[in-house]
Assembly symmetry: C2
Homo-oligomer: 250 residues x 2
Amino acid sequence: KFMIISVINQKGGVGKTTTAVNLGAALAEKGQRVLIVDLDAQHNASSLCGTRETTASMFDVLVDPEEQPLEGIVRPSLIDNVDLAPGHRALAGLESALLNVVGREMLLREALDPVRERYQAILIDNGPTLGIGPAMSLCAADMALVPLQCEHLALDGLAQVLQTISTAQRRTNAQLQKRILLTMLDRRINSAKDIVTAVQGRFGREVCQTIISRSSKLDIGVGSVLQHAPTSNAAEDYRALAQEMIGNPH
Amino acid sequence: KFMIISVINQKGGVGKTTTAVNLGAALAEKGQRVLIVDLDAQHNASSLCGTRETTASMFDVLVDPEEQPLEGIVRPSLIDNVDLAPGHRALAGLESALLNVVGREMLLREALDPVRERYQAILIDNGPTLGIGPAMSLCAADMALVPLQCEHLALDGLAQVLQTISTAQRRTNAQLQKRILLTMLDRRINSAKDIVTAVQGRFGREVCQTIISRSSKLDIGVGSVLQHAPTSNAAEDYRALAQEMIGNPH
Ligand SMILES: Nc1ncnc2c1ncn2[C@@H]1O[C@H](COP(=O)(O)OP(=O)(O)OP(=O)(O)O)[C@@H](O)[C@H]1O
Ligand SMILES: Nc1ncnc2c1ncn2[C@@H]1O[C@H](COP(=O)(O)OP(=O)(O)OP(=O)(O)O)[C@@H](O)[C@H]1O
Ligand SMILES: [Mg+2]
Ligand SMILES: [Mg+2]
């Protein structure tokens, strides 16, 4: 029932943050206690949760856990039953800060251990890189959720993120599952529908049944679509995804 | 007349690569000889130019210029009169490879010197980071072109990229100009039009007069929109942008 989900894709602007926040909100609406972990130096998830840039962040938790345990930075977000462990621009320096740390992929998993009891779902928002942050999140997660835009350039990067996931499965997390989530689908565009068909054909059950359609309701500054447009198709899309995640035994 | 343009924004998926390639194609259509420099580890610009992942790339040129001069990796693209200096996933390690190099921001400027005579325009495509790659491109450029999506999360990162540009102006390139390019505008969405008005109001003449509208014609796997849909609005948008760049004395 408990699940840690790493939202991952090095391609920019494919809906990672939008998915982390709105899937989190939908899981919370279904009664789960949810934690969003913001590993992105651009900390968009934190902004969506209503948190301005903080002093202490996930950077400190990962680089100096003795000094800054996770519990010290977790706070409620503006979304009911969703807590946030905020990101910070310092995360841009995570790679060099941890250059000489043995087994550094394990640091996030270790940091999350003390809080596992408190939540039914932990969602990790990664930035558009395949560096140590995403590597840590794959080591910590039960599932890698790969948002995939229905566009040509998006397919370019898919092979690389799948390879990253498979490396994590081999070296740091044999239990890691993966799902591809088709996002930003505009059904009026034929090439987009072709991409959906091709991806479903190629990846079968590893593609989420839920598809997130393109919707202006998801262009939000603060909060979730469940708050801003609770009866919209976009809200329903993320509720369906939450149901799929819950119903999905692993 | 000669111009080096750094296409920069750390936010993912805002149209940097689409702009670098299609603005380059439009300048070439107007008779310029154009070079696209791909500094992104995900090398999408190279893919759009028809180049599969290469062995020698901008990584080698920047890290070992004695061994790999720029001229050795420049090749024609699938776009008439547009050459390409390809990217490579190795660029993800640029920061650590150059950790101890004094004045490393200058490396791209130095690498471009020998080829300046050959082109009227050099366009640098940056990845979604604000690391050493973008810093180098700002040091080398005459103009920083910031594609800005007409969406809330896009505004979040704007302050940071503007700060990065202003730091470059202070420390590495006093001549650097900047322009904001509104991209992916969907005029049916009211919040998008509000963002356009707000950005134009706040930044005045630093906002390009040309706005790139959202168009499915720009979802391309290989080549430019001038090749794929030469009479489309999207093609006209990028021709107008090229005209604005050419007519824009600096
Ligand atoms: N289904 C959708 N329909 C319409 N707009 C969307 C949708 N999903 C996300 N967006 C918008 O698209 C933009 C990019 O989404 P988002 O920031 O979530 O992507 P990301 O993968 O986290 O980006 P980055 O790589 O920069 O972290 C945002 O402005 C967001 O509001
Ligand atoms: N004006 C537009 N209308 C519709 N689609 C667009 C437009 N501009 C870009 N796109 C599409 O949006 C996606 C993101 O664009 P692009 O890859 O150029 O952004 P980027 O800023 O370079 O992303 P990254 O941060 O990952 O490098 C691509 O699939 C591209 O084809
Ligand atoms: Mg994000
Ligand atoms: Mg790009």
